[in-house]
């Protein structure tokens, strides 16, 4: 039996199978971090603010940040949901910690004094 080293070990088991739940929770964390990174890009890179992320001019770069983050979130969720569907994951504690960290990164990267450190 091969073990993937880049993802939590997956054991097909219909009892206590939380893969679907962790796919949803973890991808929400990814979505938050993606939103934060796009925010930093829009605030620190003038070309992104004025053009690259300005998908709906009345709302400016916020439109590209929001839509871009939603797309990334949904794609990650779909991929993880398919891979972890009804599977029991071994490293649930690591996933919990990673999810928490990703959400906190998302909050931090939307904080103006933080991204202003990078030229925002």
């Amino acid at each position: 039996m091969t073990t993937e080293t880049s993802t939590p070990a997956q054991i097909p088991d219909s009892t206590s199978a939380h893969g679907t739940a962790w796919a949803a929770l973890f991808s929400a964390g990814i979505g938050c971090t993606a939103f934060g990174i796009l925010t930093m890009l829009s605030e620190c890179v003038p070309a992104m603010k004025n053009k690259g992320l300005n998908w709906y001019n009345p709302s400016g770069a916020l439109s590209g940040v929001a839509i871009g983050a939603i797309v990334i979130w949904l794609i990650v969720w779909a991929v993880l949901g398919a891979r972890w569907h009804n599977r029991r994951l071994e490293n649930e504690r690591s996933l919990m910690i990673a999810t928490v960290v990703l959400v906190l990164v998302g909050i931090l990267t939307t904080f103006p004094p933080f991204y202003e450190l990078f030229g925002g």
Binding site: H18, A28, G60, R93, M96, T99, V103
Partner: protein
């Protein structure tokens, strides 16, 4: 006792949808906190799960409506550019530029609005994930401490993000209202 169209949408965004989201959090968080196998009977778990599913989906729907209306309706009115050389009286109709016109008020935009317009968007991601898990695992969630802990963290983070956005929105609308 009338509201302009913009005042109506601003009130809907903040005072109705946003406030309802914060209220829905209270019920959802209490339901999730109390949904433990050692604290409840099986009838209690069924009722608690039902409250949790209703509450979290309410949070998710309210969050998506709030951020969508805020970003694509109200924000354009807030950031609209005034004509060149606009007088202070004219600037009153251009909230962002009114705030930026004085060193005393520019931080309401540079810090308050810039943070609010971004951090509020995290709430719908978080609330939706919790609602989906609450629905999918409603029968077994009482036995899953680690899932519940993570869900509670996401719910509290959604509440915090929405609270920051709501607080700054309320203050900014006092200083430079969208009319």
């Amino acid at each position: 006792m009338t509201l302009t169209t913009r005042e109506f949408w601003t009130a809907l965004h903040g005072m109705l949808l946003g406030a309802a989201f914060l209220l829905a959090f209270t019920g959802s968080a209490v339901s999730l906190w109390g949904l433990r196998s050692e604290w409840t009977t099986s009838a209690g778990r069924i009722a608690g799960a039902r409250f949790l599913v209703t509450g979290t989906w309410s949070m998710a729907l309210l969050a998506w409506l709030t951020v969508s209306i805020g970003t694509f309706a109200i924000y354009p009115w807030y950031r609209a550019k005034p004509p060149a050389g606009a007088s202070p009286a004219v600037l009153a109709s251009y909230p962002k530029y009114l705030l930026m016109s004085s060193a005393k008020t520019e931080d309401w935009h540079e810090f308050g609005m810039e943070w609010k317009e971004h951090v509020g968007w995290l709430a719908p991601f978080l609330a939706t994930a919790v609602a989906v898990v609450a629905t999918r695992y409603r029968r077994t969630l009482a036995n899953e401490a680690m899932l519940r802990r993570t869900m509670l963290f996401l719910l509290c983070a959604a509440f915090a993000c929405a609270s920051i956005a709501g607080l700054f929105g309320a203050f900014i609308n006092k200083v430079a209202p969208v009319r």
